[in-house]
Amino acid sequence: MTNKGTSFYERLEARGVSRRDFLKFCGATATMLGLSSSAAPMIGAKIAGAADEGGLYPALWLHGGACTGCTESIAQATYPNVADIVLDFLNLVGQETIQMSAGVQTLEGNEEFAEEHAGKYILIIEGTVITGLDGNMLRVGGHPFIEELENFASKAAVVIALGSCAVDGGWVVAYPNPAKGTGVGPYLKSKGVATPVVNLPGCPMNPEELVSVVVEALLLADRDSDGVPVLGPIVNRLDANGRPKWLYGSTIHDNCPRRGHFENGEFVYEFGSDEEAMGYCLYPVGCKGPQTYRRCPMIRWNSSVSWCVDSGGPCIGCANWNWVDQNAPFRGRFRRVGAGVLGSGGVDPAIAAAAIGGIAGAALIAHGFGMKAAKRIGSNATLKTEECKEWETKHAKKGGAA
């Protein structure tokens, strides 16, 4: 690392980032992490330390079956110089959408990078793991992407599964999952790769989420004998689903600015209505906020200018596992109910209710007529008291009839 010798701050300033800008960024990060802003200098020291010890922190970003939306999303990270600072402390060698190289230089470059930084780099995966046709439904450089994934993941310190597609396959795995997609975590587990995976579900992921995780990883890292951060401890701050606790601990509904309207029963029943103009709750038009763990109402999107509900669009629950099957139809409260795969199967609740009520009612009525026909009930009922007594006497073990 040839950057040794100049201090981190000098290098930042050489890149147009003043010490003040940097501390401001650390302050924002600290707030995001739920720490008080007095923690900012500490975070700054940690990152600066990480960079001074080992140069830019090595990272590799690979695209699976992606729409490039998560890359687009990180390109929108615009809190003063956030994108620049990520570039400045992450040595992001492979990133197909923005990297300068192409073709064989890209493939060989990634390979050399992984060898040089084996066991130390952060691997960021965007997009679904496509296993259809033995992985040939997504080929990169003439080979199935899944081979590339397994190779680079096994050498990484930590894998960040970026966006719902990388977490569990995203919309691609919705019924009938024609490309046989899956998530990075499940795929690596099936291949016996033990590298820890951090899940950042959402379609797309919010750049603040990724920045937060990267900072968190470096902040909490222990150092090895060379002073390079060891990324293992990040897994201690993940929930049972591998998501950072501080980002996915509450539902959209819990933090929604329209929650008051929900409790008041002030709802939007039709787009373009007066109720919508007044910013009422979107629950009846299908909002999935109550079922979705994410912090959109607080982090917001695109430099915090807005978020889905703020623009009038009900939440579609894009941070849920298999979110399309789970939440469709997106515009309705009444989603299909049933067992198994719900994307295609299942029944509408109204039909289910009618069927259950109808069948139960019809069965009881039919049974009633049967009882009547058998002369068990009604005016001509014949109650066979004596026969019953005989039967009972024969079968009773003890006690018996009165």
Binding site: N3, R15, G55, L56, P58, G65, C67, G69, C70, E72, A75, Q76, T78, D84, N91, L92, V93, E96, M100, S101, A102, G103, Q105, T106, L107, G109, L133, M137, R139, V140, G141, G142, W171, V172, A174, P176, P178, A179, G181, P204, E270, F271, G272, S273, E276, W301, N302, V305, S306, C308, S311, G312, G313, P314, I316, V324, P329, F330, R331, G343
Partner: protein, 538 residues
Amino acid sequence: MAENIVLDPVTRIEGHLRVEAVVENGKITDAWATGTLYRGVETILKGRKPEDAFYVTQRICGVCPTSHGHASSMAVESAYGIKIPNGARLVRNIYESAENLHSHILWFYILAALDYVNPAKALSADIGDTVDLAKAAGTGISDFAAVQERVGDLVKGGDLSVFSNGWWGLNPITDAEKIDAELYNPDMPAELHLIGVAHYLEALEMQAEAARVMAILGGKFPHGMTSVAGGTAFVPDSLKLDDILYRLKRVVAWINNTMIPDVLAIAPFYTAALEFGGGCGKFLSFGLFNDTDLDMHNRFFPAGYIDVANGLKVDPVDTDKIKEDVKHAWYTSPSGLHPQHGQTQAISRWDDSTFDLDGQYTWGKAPRYDDKPAEVGPLSRMLVGYLSPGADPAIKGTIDYALDALGITDPTLLVSLLGRVAARVLEAKVMGDQVINYVVELVEAINSGDAQTFQEYVDHDGEGAGFWEAPRGALAHFVNVENGRIANYNVVTPSTWDMSPRDDNGVRGPMEEALVGTPIADVERPIMAARIARSFDP
């Protein structure tokens, strides 16, 4: 002697693309474009609610989700027989403009510029001369010294981050002259390279600003939430309209004062690119930005079809003439179907012979118009607008201005690599000026009470299609609704038009055709092939 070049992955694009070509005597003689990813969105949509396609189809493309969602809603509206109200029309026009501005800025600076601007050469620029050059070119003056220092630090250091391995196997410092001669133009001054790099960094902010307009209208970008079937879920009010207007003004000013002058300054060093890369010579546009009658032929960028072989004239688009061939793609479903009744059945097994350039070699279908390939994208839109008598004069005026500035007299030279690059940038200017008009029109509509944003409807069975334009070209969604559910769904994306494989007649797709004839100085460093591929913004 014939040599093969393989470019896989083609980077700085959306999605996964492989380009393979045969080079003879320094020129490409044959080429194949391979889409290497299959996800099967059409299969997934079957049996779902038609309105849900709006959300799912956006995820086809993270760079142009707005257009996909819009085309999907248009298809459903067409099936249901809904006519969107005026307010929704204007909101959608603004929304779509913002996406195009965003996409064109992102494409030119972040995706394409590194093929024309060498960050390493920017290190030797003189700051004083750079400022003078920027003044002379009429482009934005940045803190060039800071940018140069920053790049210098990166290049001198070991960690090149996203620039790693970016010089086709050459060392940016020790091989500087070779790089300049082979990959760029030695006549292009270091100062102009520095201007390009500085504006690359500014472009990051400007594309984000355009995206923020989309975020206000749709909640977030990518994957907005409001262009739903029936109109828009966004309700415009003063709180948000001023925000939209002034953010757009900032972006438009930057396009006019930085992006356009940059292109006009850089283009003269790459005029060789006017000689090749033209492609199939047939151009298709479905039209962009609705007028009050919502007619595709009456849009701001009108729908139209040009076959240069038949002369420089525009024919109206007959959507019945569209079909999709799959003989050379990895599908077993029938070939030559109209997409309204298209089928998508992927092959069921893969072995060593599956990838066969003489047989099936891509996941992309081959859409054809009137049985011929057609190029789609800004070049098509601008040419159709240029040649349509009824189109807005701003389109013709902007092209004529640029041709004049570059000293080009023959507009057919636009049918080339450089023309395609220039068309995209010039289109950003035309759109930028127009979007301000739409915001003003929306304000007037609100004042006159003609700004209803949503049309209530009852769903019923039927067939529908939405013809629209993504930033990268003609986009169509087709939906058949039965029993309130999607019976069949089909998407024809601009990428399938442009990166189309050979059709059933063996005719190459537009990108493949554009690659043929492209000079390749060194098969080890096929930068020109990469430029052609990226010029389509695939």
